[in-house]
Amino acid sequence: MTTMPASVPTAVGEALTRIEGRLKVTGQARYAAEFPAPGLAYGWIVPARIARGRVRAIDIDAALALPGVLAVLHHGNAPRLTDAGDATLLVLQDDAVPHWGWPVALVVATTSEQARAAAERIHVTYDEEPHDVVFSAEHAGTYIPDHVNPAQETSTVLGDVDAALAAADVVVDATYSTPNEHNSPMEPHSATARWADGRLEVIDSNQGAFAVRQSLATLFSLDPSAVHVRSEHVGGGFGAKGTARPHVVLAAMAATVLQRPVRVTLTRQQMFSLVGYRTPTVQRVRVGADASGRLTALDHLAYSQTSRVLEFTEQTAIYARVMYAAGALRTDHRVVALDVPTPRWMRAPGEAPGSFAVESALDELAEQCGIDPVELRARNEPDVEPATGRPFSSRNLRTCFTEGARRFGWAGRDARPGVRRDGRWLLGTGTAAATYPARVTPSTATATAEADGLFTIRITASDIGTGARTALTQIAADALRVPLERVRVLIGDSDFGQAQLAGGSLGTGSWGFAITEACRALRTELDGGATVPPDGLTARADTAERVQALPALSRHSYGAQFAEVAVDLSSGEVRVRRMVGIFAVGRVVNPLTARSQLVGGMTMGLSMALHEEAILDPVFGDVVNHDLAGYHVATNADVPPIEVDWVDDADDVIPTGTKGLGEIGIVGAAAAIANAVWHATGARHRDLPIRPDRVLFS
């Protein structure tokens, strides 16, 4: 074997362009719907057009008579499924319609044009029942959930909040709301399923091929080894592809019935009812402080909705559990089950809406106390995690604010609202803090020394645009102590074994942990003189035990968000003129892609602040603006220069020293913008998005 040079340049920390970059800019990267298959048939979902009730009859004769139509699956003829712990996947199993858009049939035809035309011809009659789709904090069905997503305490109580509020010099008591927001990745969910050599072969658009494999195996009562899920390139997810979604179940069902390859791709419209979204929230925040702005009480109560299919309670109020040293702290959740699609994860579930409320309330407190918002936050820095008393692994929020304020030019800011003007625009600046948990979960990986001197890493990671493929290659190269060019990382294949899905900012840390372990084990073997056989020498790692043994620290990323806005009170238009975000995110593996992640999160936060809102029709129970013309996400013209950087944040609890980058950018961004709108106009916007009509009437 060859001896490694004593010093190999370290790949971690290098600003490398994406390994798959050339494939992406040339259109050669294939996404789930883009693999040809001989005999491919196309499935088209027939969605329910009532919000609650039962299917009385489905007339499929006209559809079956159309050219090219191969089958129509519905609850009367579809294969039976076994519950895999997610009732949103139990499609075509009975006549119940739990919400508008629920699949009531799947048409399969030899072309997508034929399938779509046939779907239009399927006549469904319903026994409609009165539905309940309107969310409010006053809803009579509101209840206290057993836990909040994913398995966190519903409530935490520290001290006597009510007594502390009664005794406070200054009190802010305000209610905030955020609407239904939809992840809306650019690539619609798609799956192509076929049976080959006794295995269900699936190419799917998801954030975790292993989890999808496990679900399919259970649903179809198959041995997990008989299911193979691949997802090499994924066109965004933001949580909407976190686990299996109905399209992949339907594709597998049809491929099984027809014994030929079947592709099911959701339409953009169908995505508004079948893949999850961020629940609307109503949040009451009460903050008590002494005259110097030191918090004596912080009370955060969050209301959200779930469906009648599956309980999902967004962890909106957990934000306050880690952020500020309040004397008394209470966080709590309420949820109501409605006849609506099931809300699921959307980028920074919990922290994104929760930070909007808490960081807006802090701005209101700063206003009332006459204290600079940056200084107010500095005065309330905790020594330990407030809700648990756990020590922080590292907490560099103050540094973020200091550096952010310097970059933004915050010093000397005139705190008075509504006094700066540029033509028809009123100008203002705002700030907010951000945090997101830095967790890791057990994962497995293999590292193989190939006979030709190259190294192959296999892990069921997913690169949904995060740059995971590139970052993991950098991590592997350093762990192997070889140049980057000698390492190939293969991802998105369930045959590579269990691994964390791409979500919750868990990816790089969890995958990097397993890869580091596998690479170090391989390095040790090679350094010990092991020879590489012709089919390679493989080391495998499973971090389950190591993860279990990690110290019980409060481990979070932090950030300071700054925004400048312009508001035209005569038209209601709000434009963000610039943003600065400074973050403490542990070690940064790849500055180029890290910056993109953080800027991307802030961009989605801008979109959340000003644009995004799914409008529910109370009569029909559906999202009225169920497309990208109606559901507005930020366009290029909405997004100003965004400056992002990070501060030193050494934290070597896990081998990669990383904390995750996927969510932190969106946290606090909407609050910073809303606070800037107050500074510009003197009007406090507690309801998102800050629409022109709301500005006009403020």
């Binding site: 050339r22 494939l23 044009e113 690539e187 339409t267 953009r268 961009t603 366009t635």
Partner: protein, 178 residues
């Protein structure tokens, strides 16, 4: 009245003429993706609301999801595969290189549409076309500054939020071209 619902057409894509028996309902986008295996052109919304399917038709950018293939017959279509770099070793178009260098993409799904659009934006600017943010719509010289790039690229949604880098990439490519 007898009416045919399919036709044999010639679709010229990236300089290659393809004879296709095509259902009149088939869009240019579906013809490219499902019939010609040119999957670089993406389907994001299928209704002209996102720009992921942007191609060039007779050199002008268009959303291929709203064009019927039968109506495009005889016109020259350029897809991302015809912009550059599709074959191993083939040079990238300067716009592609700029997207790569500036990390003007993340998941990559909107990227071919963004790049086709950017190529056309440079041509439109060179032709003196104004935009909605052009101060004097009658002006003969229009500087392709960042606000102009943002507006002109706004027909291409990017949910990953890569706009800041996309603007940098387009500005870079524009500078290199001029």
């Amino acid at each position: 009245m007898e009416r045919a619902t399919a036709a044999t057409i010639t679709l010229t894509v990236n300089g290659v003429a393809h004879s296709l028996d095509i259902d009149h309902r088939t869009t240019l986008l579906d013809a490219l993706r499902e019939r010609l295996d040119l999957t670089g052109t993406k389907k994001g919304c299928d209704h002209g609301q996102c720009g992921a399917c942007t191609v060039l038709v007779e050199g002008r950018r268009a959303d291929s999801c709203l064009l019927l293939a039968v109506a495009v017959a005889g016109k020259a279509v350029t897809t991302i595969e015809g912009i550059g770099g599709a074959a191993a070793g083939e040079a990238l178009h300067p716009v592609q290189q700029a997207f790569l260098d500036h990390d003007g993409y993340q998941c990559g799904y909107c990227t071919p549409g963004q790049i086709c659009s950017a190529v056309a934006v440079l041509d439109e600017h060179a032709a003196g076309w104004p935009s909605a943010v052009t101060g004097d719509v009658g002006a003969e010289e229009i500087v392709l500054d960042e606000p102009e790039i943002r507006e002109r690229m706004s027909g291409n949604l990017c949910r990953c939020g890569a706009y800041v880098s996309i603007v940098a990439a387009v500005a870079d490519a524009a500078g290199a071209q001029s």
